[in-house]
């Protein structure tokens, strides 16, 4: 669902200046780079890391929302939520396939997720104690993901850019679905409005953190921008998100939990935008480093699914091998 604010990328590369200049010229001509094209090691590594983190985020992201599938309040909501979580799994699948074109297997990426070597979006390390969290995630988390992913449709790496086109269409649907869920709550009883406000209070700041550290702190952004993997900086995207989302909250009578939030007509080159309060970066880093409320639970759930399913995957391989041998034996017998 999200990969802005890549943590720990290493874009160092060792090719000749001539090679790098030729590559950069292709990028500058807006040519798509395809899997078999020559590319700098750093470009490949950055993409593997970014697409991997993105894929893992989709897969881990199934868990917080999956928490409510069996308790969704109506058949319509149950079906919508199940379909939404299934979409996230589908995004994970496209993304793992896109990463595989760069020479890294899904199994390898999964092992790295479970061992903690690979990261995923920290937003999914927050819990979903209430039904309104399903609305808040769709509205805010998918909303933030769209801000990030729409520019990724123009990413220089072809398979990633193409995967993003469909992903964005689905995320945009999820965002509207989440907002509609929140709107229904705010049009309901006091208990429902409280539930909605409480969810906004808990998800607002973590959603802003999804865009990653400030540009001044984001060491690997410049190279990614130059290679057109990334098109906008973390702070630019965060500002766009705030500007788009604050009026949506107001429209349904919810209060953004930021006392410093204020319209500033000078912002965005005079078009106006919101000034907003300071993000708690200590919290951001604590969650990135594993200290969020759900880090352990999320990895434990993924590890359990992976380990419990090992015998199924082994059986599928064993059966395929048996079939192959039988077909070969039948062919030999026929000859």
């Amino acid at each position: 669902m999200y990969s802005q604010g890549l943590i720990g990328a290493d874009s160092e590369t060792e090719e000749s200046e001539e090679f790098l200049a030729a590559f950069q010229a292709r990028i500058d001509r807006e040519e798509k780079i395809e899997p078999n094209d020559p590319m700098p090691q750093g470009y490949r590594k950055t993409l593997v890391r970014q697409i991997g983190q993105h894929a893992h985020s989709e897969i881990v992201g199934m868990l917080p929302e999956g928490n409510w599938i069996t308790r969704a309040p109506t058949l319509r909501r149950k079906i919508a939520l199940l379909a939404k979580v299934q979409d996230e799994g589908g995004h994970g699948l496209y993304l793992y396939c896109a990463a595989e074109t760069l020479g890294v297997s899904r199994e390898q990426m999964t092992e790295e997720l479970l061992s903690g070597k690979a990261k995923y979006s920290s937003i999914f390390n927050y819990p979903t104690p209430s039904w309104a969290d399903i609305g808040a995630i769709g509205w805010l988390v998918d909303g933030a993901a769209i801000m990030n992913q729409v520019p990724l449709c123009r990413c220089s790496f072809g398979p990633y850019a193409r995967a993003m086109v469909r992903v964005c269409k689905e995320e945009s649907f999820h965002q509207r679905q989440g907002y509609e869920l929140m709107m229904t709550l705010t049009e309901g009883t006091d208990a429902q409005r409280e539930m909605a406000q409480d969810a906004l209070n808990r998800w607002w700041w973590p959603s802003l953190m999804m865009f990653g550290p400030h540009d001044s702190e984001s060491s690997n952004s410049d190279q990614s921008m130059l290679w057109k993997i990334k098109r906008f900086s973390n702070d630019e995207l965060r500002q766009k998100f705030v500007d788009a989302t604050v009026p949506q909250a107001e429209r349904i009578g919810l209060t953004v939990p930021d006392p410093d939030l204020k319209w500033n007509p000078e912002k965005n080159d005079g078009e106006g935008g919101y000034d907003f309060g300071a993000i708690d970066w200590d919290e951001f880093w604590r969650v990135v480093k594993g200290g969020g409320p759900m880090n352990r639970d999320r990895i434990a759930a993924r590890t359990k699914a992976w380990e419990d399913g090992a015998w199924v995957r082994e059986a599928a391989l064993a059966h395929a091998e048996k079939r192959k041998q039988r077909m070969q034996a039948a062919k030999v017998a026929a000859e």
Binding site: I69, R71, A305, V312, H319
Partner: protein
Amino acid sequence: MTNNQSYGGADHIEALLALADDHLILGHRLSEWCGHAPMLEEDLSLPNMALDLLGQARNLFAHVANLENCGKSEDDLAYLRSDREYKNCLMVERPNGDFAHTMLRQLYFAAFMQPYWQAMEDSTDDTLRALAGKAEKEMSYHIRHAGEWVVRLGDGTEESAHRMVNAVVALHPYTDELFEISAPLQNCIEHGLLPDPTPIRAPWQAMIEDIFSQAYLTIPDVPFPQEGGRHGRHTEDFGHLLSELQYMQRAYPGMAW
């Protein structure tokens, strides 16, 4: 007021609810897998099958709500009955167990529902006839998916074969109930509203035997079949399922979601 003998009568409603409950409860069980499946492809296909079943359940509940015409919605029917009022067969409420259990349960159910929906294409109930075509296609896909897994697991590794045998032993006793004809169903059969499951039994058995033969499985003798769901007598697990399913509707009664 209601006429037990015909369209829209108490028996018609009761028999449709049993059918709707089968789909709701099995869809709910399958949905529990979402995000926890053995591989990503199954994280997509298990919810897919759950969505088919929940979609069918929703159509059936809406049909019942329409027939009852007493201001109840599909959600009132799906979420606000007591355990004794749910008439699903026991097999669909059995816990998921391992992947072998889940796939076998799906095969047993779909191998029954596919021909049953097909037979509904001749129902005198227009709504059922309209629903049958799509549902039957969906069930064919479930048979293929679950059947292929039963073969893979039965003829996979020693462990998978062992687990598959355990699943058969655990679940086969619940298959008789698929063919049970309750009094309301009997009435519906006589009026052409719902099909008689009896003629489906032999082809069902043949299909299971065919898949089992490829999976090195045998159909066990079942001296004591398990039943009771059609009369609202459920297993111990069912109350826990309902406590999750009904949580929001019970905790926040009368609200719109």
